[in-house]
Symmetry: C2
Amino acid sequence: MRDDPDALAEQMSVVLRHLVLLLRRTVAGQPVTSQQYAVLGSLKQGPRRMTELAEEHAVQLPTMTVQINRLEEAGLVARGGDPADARVRTVELTGEGRTRLLAVQRARIAHLAHELAALTPDERAALAAALPVLAKLG
Amino acid sequence: MRDDPDALAEQMSVVLRHLVLLLRRTVAGQPVTSQQYAVLGSLKQGPRRMTELAEEHAVQLPTMTVQINRLEEAGLVARGGDPADARVRTVELTGEGRTRLLAVQRARIAHLAHELAALTPDERAALAAALPVLAKLG
DNA sequence: CCTCATACTTAGCCAGACTAACTTAGTTGA
DNA sequence: TCAACTAAGTTAGTCTGGCTAAGTATGAGG
């Protein structure tokens, strides 16, 4: 196989499209939307600022405000403040939020693991080798 | 490295999240939205029925109706009919639509190729080996 | 202080997803 | 044959999630 970045890019383009449609099918009709889940995931390690969340999710601040409003109304996150800077709002998981997040994560990983179990060891090895490379993109 | 589908699933979950955010950043502020582009892509090989398009894109028929309405207003696709079954509407690219599709495809592939060119040959080989496996998922 | 920058929120818009209900066209069986 | 059912799309109404513009409150600097 030749090492041709252009040809590889063309193949990747096709596969990415496939993955996007696959993900869309997977998350359709879930109780927690994928965006809500993604935001909860960002809070797993502890409280974050609104600006951090917006940047990480590649959205504008107002968009994140609305998302956090909804999650707060649902009781999954709580807003706090920064004692050192009264302009800053922090957001953290509630107990319920953490429970919900872990449940969704478990379900997703189980689903993926089920798919991966149908592959050959060689195929899984190929995926494992490619993951760090994909993580470098961007 | 152990061959553990569960651990691999967990890593994939992280990488998929990264790719989703990456794609979102890439397509933000494009003239043709990613959904419109995706639909145009489905028409590249020839006319398709509404139901086919909806199923392929994992959306309900009314959603596809609205998308096709907009693409039709923009002059990028044209509706047709099936002589054998008057209930069926077909959709196909106009010349303008094909031109636009090819331009967007070229731009995306060029962007990807640019990213891939920054990788080492080994990394590109790892990606190339994994693509067929990713394409099998779902 | 007065001004400017920063961190959010609010308000109003648009795209894109859904369900429910409607129209039109085939299909089927008594 | 025609009444009832099924299938393909569209329309209408609602929700999520994105954006920009504008407003509020706080911090920082001259």
